[in-house]
């Protein structure tokens, strides 16, 4: 795995990982967003043969990230599961038991349509709107503000942020990225089977793009800080 990049926000250390996760060192928490587990299965059940390996690789990567950072806690800023229950959900259920974390918290996103007990049965605590843990507030949609926690720094997902890099001629590349402003930050979608919404770097404080796996970087993705 290529080296994560550290960020200082509100005197805390956050590590952005090329595995599309964010590690909060002081709290030993791994933060991920938009896993969309079961999306491939949902497509396949409807006759659209998306490669099922995507889902499996996402799961494996989640474990790799947890083990790499030695995280005790997993915080999910929404969209854990893509749709209704299906067999890939069962698959995830089986993996859940072997996830090396003490706490697993899900801030509900628009795709998380299962009832709370379904999550509870798997040892996942559900936060309906947001989760505040000084100095951060975790929510699904970064746009959703609340007065109570104005001083907290918001960490969110939902957008699937992507940045467009243009090169010589008419070449251009769109890459998933971490996007941090003065007051809030958005994580890239964890799932590899997810599109990108283009963000503009203008108002950002930090933009960290994830470069695709290349032989040069040891066959795994790497990070590049654009701002």
């Amino acid at each position: 795995m290529t080296k994560p990049l550290p960020l200082q926000i509100h005197s805390q250390t956050l590590w952005a990982s090329a595995g599309r996760s964010l590690y909060w060192e002081e709290d030993a928490s791994l933060i991920v967003s938009d896993l969309h587990f079961g999306k491939t299965g949902h497509f396949r059940k409807s006759g659209i043969p998306v490669p099922p390996k995507v889902n499996r690789e996402d799961l494996q990567r989640l474990v790799v990230e947890l083990v790499y950072f030695g995280a005790r806690k997993l915080i999910l800023t929404g969209d854990l599961f893509h749709s209704e229950e299906n067999l890939e959900w069962d698959h995830f259920r089986r993996w859940r038991d072997s996830l090396p974390v003490e706490e697993f918290i899900l801030v509900r996103g628009n795709h998380d349509i299962l009832k709370t007990p379904a999550y509870a049965s798997m040892g996942i605590r559900v936060q309906e709107k947001s989760l505040s843990m000084n100095p951060f507030r975790f929510t699904h949609d970064p746009q959703e503000q609340s007065d109570a926690s104005r001083d907290l720094y918001t960490i969110a997902g939902h957008w699937h942020p992507g940045i467009r890099l243009t090169g010589m001629g008419k070449q251009s590349l769109r890459l998933p990225c971490f996007y941090f402003t003065q007051k809030w930050g958005v994580l890239p979608a964890f799932s590899r089977f997810s599109g990108l919404a283009q963000v503009e770097p203008a108002q950002a404080k930090h933009v960290i793009a994830i470069l695709p796996a290349e032989p040069r970087s040891g066959g795994s993705p790497s990070l590049i800080a654009l701002k």
Binding site: G41, K45, G47, I48, V50, S83, M168, G195
Partner: protein
């Protein structure tokens, strides 16, 4: 079952149809009579005749005569019920006219047949009626034919078909719709075995008519019952000459430094007398965006034409288009500015003149457009060629010569279109299911899939049945299931969705444009509108529209009187010059170089050629001209291949790659149909010593793979393939997408497949399409072979030459707004002329 003919009664059928024609004061043409004879003898083939010459009668009356020979009119009891004649036409708009003509024949002769129409416009009630009792004749589009195959019990409906006619086969053959026709024909031939139906294609002249016939009749020729019977196929050509008169419109003064997009508009005034002198004129423009500009310009030049001229292109609301077409029929319009949207279709008798603005890119297309005027048999088709830059006059001369020599382009059939195959197999699985052992030989009997390997067939089946390389555990993939050896779709939702998406025409992401007060105007590409702000004014369907907002995938606008508007550009559809025309262009250049010409176009170009000669060189037909010029912008290398934009695009990338192997160097590219340009900030190391090696075919394939961004191109191709192959469901413009949870973008799928299932058949097809169609690898190779045989002329002009100027300007266009560009180009022209 189709019947074998007792020859004793053959004359009876022919007599009946001839008598009917004579009763209407018509003499059968020789080619019509010939076709009837062949059809009576059970042969299949191609009828090749210009439009407006009675091709329909040739084949339809043949089918009637063939039936009458077995079942005389006065013995109605002997007529078995059910579908007899399938008439496949690519155009919905033609169906009604054809059906009307057929009904006239039938009632005149007294044959108790019904004619039905089956296409996207057919109502559900009508389809139900047809299901209960099929008419004897069905006029149908390729898509609807496949929808018929998706219907339960289709085998019973189709097994009695004795004649299949495919209209406008030259249009279908190079497209995936043509592949649909091939597959449907293979199924019908398979169903009616051991007796074969008569299959007749109707085609305009193309360079590979023989091959076009083999493609259409391939299932017949390879079927085990008719093997070794090539004498059963025939091409019938009408001997009727089509008189075509081509006139070029000359600018008053020849620009020695030509550039596109400018002169055309300046010559608009010269169109006025042509329009005034004809009942109706069609003005063909190459792009939808330019047609909007032209429509405005003609109105500016001739304000009293308001209401007398109209605009017609593919992005205008169908209702408006139909109105224009009706007005064309009635002859109430003086002129219609149009794009390829009017290339095909019903004949508009009032059309007396055609104006072609800019390069038609090919001889076939040029002839087709010419044929839109002077429709009656024997009438003269008048076509005026209006160049958009002076060098295009060369093209006019080349077109005329090609027509005189009858050099028309080939239309190459598509091969191994697995997206269409996947869709077709799914279609069969939706209706009655299929047994692979029965269907595989049928599919292989088509021209498209004759070289398909067992492995590839297996991969397509696996794609449908298992969903690719599936992981066994936790997988719930379902689409096609195997029950007792039969492949079926049992899930009703999947079946319904498949039926709704049968077809191979994939549209871009379009938004509908509508007045706030109601009334649709047309469609516009999503990316164009995404760059507009509320209040911006753009032009569509010849109207000035102010952008208000987007709601429910619809662009809401209001009328505007603004002076300045933005003309939308629509992606796609940028044609490349054909190989034929390129070859003729090089011949004409040689003539111009030798001063050995009587073409008025070449004579008019003399000043330009003189300047080209004095600065550089005029290449002969076996020469390749390369010009190296240094300007303030840097070091330019211009290569004048006259091989079309696509070949130039690929060659530019390959050459840049090869040069960069000599020394580290960075380039920008530009290209048009004639030339390409490499521009660098350092001298480009090309000289007589290495130029041959730079243009050799050695390691061409490797160099293509290293230099051309095939991944990016394949990603673009993959979109259509993914839609046809059933990975993406297209919404209709203006309709909110259904099943949001099942939507994903083609580029995301492309990425996921590339990474997780690179062996996927559809993904591999995208790359093959890039090589075959985007880069025209075969043509690239041919060009390099030609260059290897000929001479390469390297010159070092002191300033830009007339040949290099157009491509130089094109490259500036990309970075500048058009107004600034005009100023800058004018300045450049002045400086260079000094």
């Amino acid at each position: 079952m189709a019947e074998m003919l007792p020859t004793a009664d053959a004359r009876y059928g022919i007599d009946m149809v001839s008598r009917w024609l004579e009763g209407r004061g018509l003499q059968p043409f020789d080619f019509q009579r010939e076709t009837w004879e062949h059809m009576l003898a059970g042969r299949s083939g191609i009828v090749n005749a210009p439009t407006g010459c009675g091709k329909t009668y040739a084949v339809f009356l043949g089918a009637v005569a063939r039936t009458l020979a077995n079942h005389p009119v006065d013995e109605p009891a002997t007529h078995p019920p059910g579908l007899k004649v399938l008439w496949v036409t690519p155009l919905r708009a033609l169906a009604k006219d054809i059906a009307r003509a057929m009904e006239e024949v039938l009632s005149g002769i007294g044959l108790p047949w019904r004619v039905g129409i089956r296409n996207g416009d057919t109502t559900t009630a009508e389809r139900q009626r047809q299901k209960r009792s099929m008419p004897e004749v069905l006029v149908i589009t390729p898509e609807s034919l496949h929808l018929l195959l998706a219907q339960k019990g289709y085998a019973d409906l189709l097994s009695g078909v004795h004649t299949i006619a495919v209209d406008e086969w030259h249009e279908l053959i190079g497209s995936k719709r043509g592949v649909q026709v091939e597959l449907a024909v293979s199924r019908i031939v398979g169903l009616s075995a051991p007796i074969s139906p008569c299959i007749w294609g109707i085609s305009a002249t193309i360079g590979n008519l023989e091959e076009a016939m083999d493609v259409l009749l391939s299932p017949l020729l390879t079927s085990m019952y008719t093997r070794n019977s090539t004498e059963k196929t025939v091409i019938v050509k009408s001997q009727m000459p089509k008189n075509i008169e081509v006139t070029s419109i000359f600018p008053d003064e020849i620009e020695r430094y030509p550039w596109a997009g400018h002169l055309g508009i300046r010559l608009a005034e010269k169109v006025v007398p042509i329009v005034e002198g004809s009942r109706t004129t069609l003005v063909f423009i190459n792009t939808r965006g330019m047609s909007e500009t032209w429509y405005q310009t003609l109105l500016d030049v001739q304000p009293d034409w308001a209401g007398a001229i109209a605009l017609h292109h593919g992005s205008i609301e169908q209702e408006l288009r139909l109105w224009v077409e009706d007005a064309l029929h009635e002859g109430t319009l003086k002129a219609v500015v149009c794009t390829s949207s009017l290339d095909l279709g019903v004949d508009f008798r009032p059309v007396e003149s055609v104006v072609q603005v800019g390069s038609p890119k090919g001889v076939g297309r040029f002839l087709q457009r010419a044929g839109r005027s002077g429709h009656a048999p024997g009438a003269v088709s008048r076509l005026h060629f209006l160049p958009t830059h002076s060098l295009e006059l060369l093209e006019a001369a080349a077109l005329k010569q090609s027509i005189a020599e009858g050099l028309i382009e080939r239309r190459d059939p598509l091969v191994l279109c697995y997206d269409v195959l996947a869709q077709y197999l799914c279609t069969l699985a939706v209706s009655d299911g299929f047994e692979p052992a029965t269907i595989l030989p049928e599919v292989r009997s088509t021209y498209c899939f004759r070289e398909m390997t067992d492995t590839e067939w297996g991969a397509v089946l696996r794609f449908l049945i298992q969903g690719g390389s599936a992981l066994q555990q936790y997988d719930e993939y379902q689409k096609v299931e195997v029950q007792d050896g039969r492949c079926r779709v049992t899930n009703r939702r999947i079946a319904m969705r498949h039926r709704m998406h049968i077809g191979t025409i994939v549209s871009d992401a379009m938004l509908r444009v509508k007045f706030i007060t109601g009334g649709h105007i047309g469609v516009i590409e999503e990316w164009f509108i995404s760059r507009l702000l509320p209040g911006d004014v753009f032009t569509l369907a010849g109207r000035k529209l102010e952008f208000v907002m987007i709601r429910d995938m619809t662009v809401l606008v209001r009328k505007s009187n603004a002076k300045k508007t933005i003309v939308p550009s629509w992606m796609g559809g940028r044609m490349s010059l054909t190989a034929n025309l390129g070859c003729m262009l090089r011949r004409k250049l040689e003539e111009a170089g030798k001063g050995d010409t009587t073409d008025p176009e070449l004579e008019a170009l003399a000043p330009l050629m003189e300047l080209q000669r004095s600065l550089s060189h005029i290449p002969g037909s076996e020469e390749l001209l390369i010009e190296q010029i240094e300007t303030r912008d840097g070091y330019h290398l211009f290569v004048h291949t006259f091989e079309g934009r696509l070949v130039n695009e690929a060659m530019a990338a390959i050459l840049a790659w090869r040069i960069s192997q000599i020394q580290p160097i960075t380039f920008t590219f530009a290209m048009n149909d004639y030339s390409f340009e490499l521009l660098s900030d350092q001298p480009i190391p090309v000289d007589d010593g290495n130029v041959r090696a730079l243009f050799s075919t050695d390691r061409l394939l490797e160099d293509i793979q290293r230099s051309v961004n095939a991944t990016e191109m394949a990603k673009r191709k993959f979109r259509d393939i993914a839609v046809i192959g059933g990975l993406i469901f297209q919404g209709m413009p203006g309709q909110p997408k259904k099943a949001r949870h099942l939507q994903s973008s083609a580029s995301l799928l492309f990425q996921v497949f590339s990474e997780y299932e690179p062996e996927n058949v559809l993904l591999r097809q995208a790359y093959r399409e890039v090589f075959d169609h985007q880069m025209e690898e075969a043509r690239l190779r041919e060009m390099l072979d030609r260059i290897a045989r000929g001479r390469i002329v390297l010159t070092f002009p002191e300033r830009l030459t007339p040949f290099s100027f157009p491509v130089k300007v094109d490259s500036m266009r990309e970075s500048l707004s058009s107004e600034k560009l005009e100023d800058r180009v004018r300045r450049m022209q002045e400086q260079l002329e000094r």
